[in-house]
């Protein structure tokens, strides 16, 4: 019953497991031949997947479609699948590539948008949070998963309970703290509350560290490697998948973050993309948002993370399969 029909991977880029790195060792391809026959069941399954995909992607398409619509057509042409007079002007004005008059003519407010700067700020903001938070939380997760010390489970329980803390509690005190530190309008202040830990990241990484076979570490321990060396040289390289996953999750989260950077990073020098794109939302209670600009801006803000996702996507889940690591 094997090796008959579509014996190859579907050419979508998954076939290359090479970039995954040594840590993952040999991986069995789950697309093993046994499942490759095209049975009616599989046809149904593909159909379901395809339907889900359409439902997922269509609203996103609609966002792009609206972004390509001239503001004047927004209401008169709101139901055709393709805009009647597609235009790039919304993308251009979001990137600050049009004059103020052109931007206003296209339905914008004429506010100056220094897109590249905000993009860079967003990269710095999300990058800092993603890297440092992942590192700090990996250390904590490892301690909870492997090290023995009194009160470990209690401390872990308390830390995880932070998941339940309502954001309304943390917003004001954190703002006051950051302000008292003199960190308003600095990256330090913007990343401070999330850079050291989030309960989710600790929780997630601890769960994954728990599942690493102890044999590997035990061999290293016999070689006299201490806890720190073990973590740095053995555990981290083996955990590329979960680290990437949580790092990426954190990146996306920080990339989309709005209220906190709005409160703490208003200045041009540190303003991130989401805050800058706020200008395209509804500005006063009796006006409409700048719809086409908003959709163009949102589309542009999604692209960098989407590219990151596709670049890392291959490594991401493939390397999650780290239990076979050597």
């Amino acid at each position: 019953m094997t090796q008959t029909l579509t014996g190859t991977e579907s050419g979508t880029g998954t076939g290359t497991g090479t970039g995954v790195g040594a840590g993952t060792g040999t991986r069995t391809r789950p697309g093993a031949a046994a499942r490759k026959r095209l049975t009616p069941g599989r046809i149904v399954a593909w159909a379901v997947l395809a339907a889900a995909l359409v439902a997922t992607v269509f609203p996103f398409y609609w966002m792009v479609r609206t972004a390509l619509t001239p503001a004047a057509d927004l209401y008169s042409d709101s139901t055709s699948l393709v805009p009647q007079h597609p235009t790039m002007v919304n993308f251009l004005r979001v990137m600050g590539l049009t004059s103020q008059e052109e931007a206003v003519a296209a339905g914008g407010s004429g506010a100056q948008v220094d897109f590249l700067r905000y993009l860079l700020n967003s990269v710095v903001y999300s990058g800092l949070i993603a890297v440092l938070q992942t590192l700090c939380c990996a250390m904590a997760g490892y301690a909870f998963a492997r090290l023995r010390f009194p009160g470990r489970d209690a401390v872990f329980g308390v830390l995880i309970a932070a998941l339940m803390v309502p954001p309304i509690f943390t917003l004001m005190p954190n703002f006051v703290l950051v302000k008292d530190l003199g960190w308003l309008n600095t990256f330090a202040g913007m990343v401070a509350p999330t850079v050291l830990m989030t309960p989710f990241a600790v929780f997630f990484l601890r769960q994954f560290f728990l599942s690493i076979p102890r044999e590997v570490e035990e061999a290293a321990i016999l070689d006299g490697v201490g806890a720190w060396g073990l973590f740095w040289r053995v555990v981290l390289p083996m955990s590329r998948g979960p680290l990437l996953t949580i790092g990426l999750t954190t990146t996306v989260w920080a990339w989309k973050d709005y209220l906190w950077p709005l409160l703490t990073g208003r200045d041009e020098e540190v303003r991130v993309l989401t805050v800058a794109l706020g200008i395209f939302q509804q500005q006063s209670p009796n006006t409409s948002p700048d719809w086409t600009g908003l959709m163009a801006g949102s589309t542009l803000s999604v692209l960098p993370v989407l590219v990151l996702l596709i670049l890392l996507g291959r490594r991401l889940v493939e390397s999650l399969n780290f239990t076979g690591g050597k």
Binding site: L53, T56, M63, T79, A162, L196, Q207, V302
Partner: protein, 317 residues
């Protein structure tokens, strides 16, 4: 990839109380790593203390005061909590939130599970995975505004299609009956892909040989899913359920940009109510009391979830 990896998988969701019990008869490290441990934990604990613990203590204190943000708080004891018991809006908010959570988590988790299983068993396409994740990348405010367009009664594409099919139009966000399910569906759209990815990540770890031998025994896909995938996915499923349940209870953005709690309170969820109390009405003390109750509810639900999922962890491993 040996057979023994199956048992090296996480022991259940391992809630607060379940550490890794030392397996007997193995080589042991020194029994106490406390020095190293505290160093490992230092950054996280510092972050926790400054940005979670301290604000929480303050919040709990505020819940016992008449704090209005603009003047110093006066201690009022349990007054806020007493008021809460007779506050119709609060109970309505709880009810509405419960409805939302059930619809949202129900649809989102089931769909995600289905998608993850399909991805796991059909294809490993990176592009496909990335496409499923696209909604998760869209900023929350945009998600709400985008769907306002799509679902609008008169100008929206969804109603345009329904109308063309002769099904008439529906006020998805303006009818009290439809508003909450619509919001739940919108957020399911935004987060199903991400949930599916996490579940898929868990599925990928399930040793392939289990499927192979089950297949040789003549088991079908559905049987394999219920007998192999689901039980072994339990730790990840627990994590996903716990985290998305908590997130679901805290839904705010979508409602703030679309229905703002309306019509007639049909979407005034608990977190929107807390927000209104705190920042629109300036009742920080009362808002804190509601927030404390919400946190307690979440704590209980999480504990129950952990217990349930841990109780059945021995299914196969």
């Amino acid at each position: 990839m040996g057979a023994n990896t199956a048992v090296a998988r996480p022991r259940g969701p391992a809630g607060p109380a379940s550490g890794e019990a030392p397996a007997p008869g193995r080589a042991r490290r020194a029994p106490d790593d406390r020095k190293a441990a505290w160093l490992f934990l230092a950054p996280a604990l510092l972050g926790f203390a400054l940005f979670y613990a301290y604000p929480t203590v303050r919040g709990v204190y505020y819940s016992l005061t008449d704090y209005n943000l603009l003047a110093a708080p006066n201690f009022t004891g349990a007054e806020n909590y007493q008021q809460l018991v007779t506050d119709d809006q609060f109970w309505n908010a709880l009810k509405v939130t419960g409805y939302y959570v059930v619809v949202n988590i129900g649809s989102q988790t089931l769909l995600a599970l289905l998608l993850a299983a399909l991805m796991h068993r059909l294809t490993r396409s990176v592009v496909l995975r990335a496409m499923l994740l696209v909604p998760w990348l869209v900023p929350n405010v945009t998600v709400g505004l985008l769907w306002m367009w799509l679902l609008d009664t008169n100008l929206g594409f969804v109603n345009h299609i329904l109308n063309t099919l002769g099904l008439g139009t529906t006020g998805f966000l303006s009818s009290p009956d439809w508003a909450m399910p619509s919001i739940a569906a919108v957020n399911a759209w935004a987060y199903t892909g991400y949930t599916a990815l996490l579940l898929y990540a868990g599925m990928v770890q399930i040793p392939q040989y289990l499927y192979e031998s089950a297949s040789l025994d003549g088991a079908g896909e559905i049987r394999m899913f219920t007998r192999i995938t689901l039980p072994l996915l339990r730790p990840v499923l627990a994590l996903v359920l716990v985290v998305s349940l908590i997130g679901s209870f805290q839904i705010f953005d979508t409602i703030a940009v679309t229905t703002q709690g309306g019509p007639v309170g049909a979407t005034r969820v608990i977190y929107f109510y807390i927000y209104e109390q705190a920042f629109t009405y300036f009742h920080m003390g009362y808002a804190s009391a509601v927030a404390v109750v919400l946190a307690l509810i979440l704590g209980v639900l999480t504990a129950v979830q952990m217990r349930l999922l841990r109780a059945s962890r021995s299914d196969l491993a």
